[in-house]
């Protein structure tokens, strides 16, 4: 049984209320931080723990915090990014629904560390129940003296607000989120300046994912050394993985980073194997925007080592044979799933969610979607695959925000690894409309290159 840090008490009845949460050791870290630690100590501790951003990019949180500009007389802000809308990812929603006080506790400690007196939780508009839960939890925390003026008699003031978004994927991009929070159209800003220098209302701002902020709580409670013991290499601590797709037990799992992918899929502790006794065909390991991998590449790297659930191991092989941990949206596909249809579905999502500000993404996402639609419905051409790869290359890296990259990677990787399935759709459109391509060779053991 692996160690749980965030979801340790998730099954305690009534853990979503302040009293039960407090009885189970909640808000200890606030007392510890405000009474015994200085803000710089906390930043150092987080830095030392090796905690990396859980929203997708995996940027070290402590480093991000230390970049925050601290000019005199200018307020600073902490914004929690709860605009979770990546297809396949639902870990933040789970955390906010069942254990909202963990997020609030983390927000208080992080705000204290950054010298913030006003912080915001920007929640995706569709998550109305979670917004109500958080607002209720904030009121409870305030009544107990953990928010508001002079918290625990230490002289530290903090106000926390929940802001519902309009439900746009682009508002999960940190500068788009800040624009939206300011009440404008949620379009990403051009960087630099980065939010750490000029963010919300042109003041220094830190934007962190829900899970990142929640993970600050165990780091302060148990210390960075204890936190570093969990995990592997530069991937320390635990990570929430929202497993979905054709699995026996889909759901949100807290794993210690470094669990083998094979164990995660097949062991009874986690997903319990593929549903209905089918075989695994492909996996999207970290939410829809990371490259998709066929079964043989997700279980083993090209060097023949077994792949682990960690930032480094999943990225092993770069974009040629690797993927990314991303936001932890683990989607498994069994042999009956059509990769072309799935890629089209993802492309359709990015086309719909592109903000339309910069031209490669605005035009390119629509173009890719149309070509994939044509392929899926049997009107494709063999040249379409090269066209798609070329268009995705023209988008990747040339856009204002990472949405362009996120739209390009799944398409490029699907064609890289599943090219024969795409070709089958072109060459035999009638069969492609009637049945799926099946598993083919996608789970065959890799030929391992012998070096020497």
């Amino acid at each position: 049984m692996s160690r749980k840090l965030l979801l340790e008490h998730i099954n305690v009845p009534g853990i979503n209320t302040f009293d039960v949460y407090r009885q189970n050791g909640g808000y200890r870290s606030v007392e510890k931080a405000l009474k015994t630690l200085s803000p710089d100590d906390i930043v150092e501790e987080v830095k030392k723990s090796g905690l990396r951003g859980r929203g997708g990019a995996g940027f070290p949180t402590g480093m991000k915090w230390s970049f925050l500009a601290k000019p005199e007389g200018v307020p600073r802000y902490l914004v929690c990014n709860a605009d979770e809308s990546e297809p396949g990812t639902f870990k933040d929603r789970y955390l906010m629904t069942y254990i909202p006080h963990l997020l609030i506790e983390g927000m208080i400690v992080s705000s204290f560390a950054l010298g913030v007196n006003t912080c915001y939780i920007y929640v995706r508009g569709e998550m109305m129940p979670q917004i109500c839960i958080l607002e209720k939890a904030i009121v409870e925390a305030k009544n107990a003296g953990f928010l508001g003026k002079n918290i625990l008699g230490t002289g530290y003031d903090l106000e926390m607000y929940v802001q519902p978004g309009g439900g746009a994927y682009i508002c999960g991009e940190e500068t788009g989120l800040l624009e939206s929070l300011e009440g404008k159209r949620g379009t990403p800003r051009i960087k630099p300046p980065f939010p750490a220098v000029s963010g919300l209302y042109n003041c220094p701002t830190v934007v962190n994912n829900v899970e990142t902020i929640a993970a600050v709580v165990p780091i302060i409670n148990d210390g960075a050394d204890e936190y570093m013991k969990i995990g592997i290499g530069r991937s320390t601590g635990t990570k929430l993985i929202s497993a979905g797709g054709n699995l026996n037990k889909p759901g949100v799992y807290e794993i210690e980073l470094g669990v083998p992918v094979e164990e995660f899929i097949y062991s009874d502790e986690y997903c319990g194997g593929i549903a209905n006794g089918k075989r695994l065909k492909a996996v999207v390991a970290g939410g829809s925007s990371v490259p998709i991998l066929p079964a043989n590449l997700i279980l083993k790297t090209v060097n023949g080592e077994s792949r682990l659930m960690s930032y480094e191991s999943l990225a092993d092989g770069g974009f040629v044979s690797g993927t990314m941990l991303g936001s932890g949206g683990f989607i498994a596909f069994d042999e009956d799933q059509c990769i072309v249809r799935n890629t089209w579905n993802f492309a359709r999502f990015y086309h719909h969610e592109s903000c339309g500000q910069c031209s490669p993404c605005r035009e390119g996402t629509g173009w890719m979607e149309k070509v994939l639609h044509r392929l899926e419905y049997g009107h494709g051409k063999l040249s379409d695959m090269d066209l798609l790869v070329d268009v995705s290359k023209k988008i990747e890296g040339n856009t204002i925000c990472p949405l362009g990259d996120a739209a390009a990677w799944p398409v490029a990787s699907a064609i890289r690894h599943f090219r024969d399935e795409f070709e089958w759709h072109v060459n035999d459109p009638k069969s492609a409309m009637e049945r799926n391509y099946g598993l083919a060779h996608y789970a065959d053991p890799l030929e391992i290159e012998v070096k020497g």
């Binding site: 746009a168 682009i170 159209r185 051009i190 630099p192 086309h351 719909h352 969610e353 592109s354 903000c355 339309g356 500000q357 910069c358 031209s359 490669p360 605005r362 035009e363 390119g364 996402t365 629509g366 173009w367 149309k370 066209l387 290359k393 023209k394 988008i395 890296g397 040339n398 856009t399 204002i400």
Partner: protein, 333 residues
Amino acid sequence: MEKVKVTIDGITIEVDAGTSILNAARQIGGDVVPPAMCYYSKLKDSGGKCRTCLVKVSKGSEKDPRPMPKLLASCRTAVMDGMEVQNITSLEVVEARKGVVEMLLINHPLDCPVCDQAGECHLQDLAYEHGVEKTRYEFERRTFDRIDIGDKIQLHMTRCILCYRCVFVADQLTNQRVHGILGRGDASEISTYIEKAIDNDFSGNVIDVCPVGALTDRTFRFKNRVWFTKPVDAHRDCPTCSGKVTLWYKGEEVIRVTAPKDQFGEVEDFICNTCRFETKNTSDWVIEGPRQIANTSVISSNHYEIAQPPPVIKTNLVLQEANKEQFEKATRS
């Protein structure tokens, strides 16, 4: 003001700290200037959207010589001391720019033969210089109905490349914000909500800033092709604006009035609607002389003028010496 040194395509120049790469390149002049479809030096916060001005920063600065991992929008990136930038000398940049031009064109109707902007359209110039001859896009293009915004301006969204310039004009030049973007992604459109007319003294400037034919002058629509008209500089005493304009003559008749534009297609001064739409008689104006149009433009075809060397050569003795032969050839005729 603090000066910093920047090298663009091997040409070093000293510029004020805080200048963007694009403006530094413009001070050099010539071929190293990246094209800009959305950036407009007279409009605050414009730029960064069209991605045609992407450049490669091969050396970040003297202090931190690491190259930038991605291509950067030169219009919104400030130069650092010792920065080295590659524009047309980088294959990556040329390829990326070609890609952007292709993207800009896939939903553009390419109706240049009936478009009033033809001949002074930045997208035409851009496509001619950086585009490919054939399109790979085989789907229906996005279309919109034409909208008259007021009795003087027509909006034809189908041609729009969403550069946001007109939105900034409406925001920054006029005192009521009546004009913005609706929708998102490739369905977004420039619009005045519920087709409300734009009624403002400076609204006509949206026509001048539009790089394509999406916003056109209704008093000039289908009157003539721009390359048949003769541009003349003129001025008058105007109570609301500077009164400096370019008159476009067809025979004896003034058929269009615009603000005078510089070599980058940007207006020198915004003009008011009275100057633009109401005063179309020669008697209203004091004529200054023929307007010089950049040699690359189709408007100046058959107008033989002396090639002006790029500004960097005028100030740099080494380059003057190196280009002596060309310089003499240019000044002789």
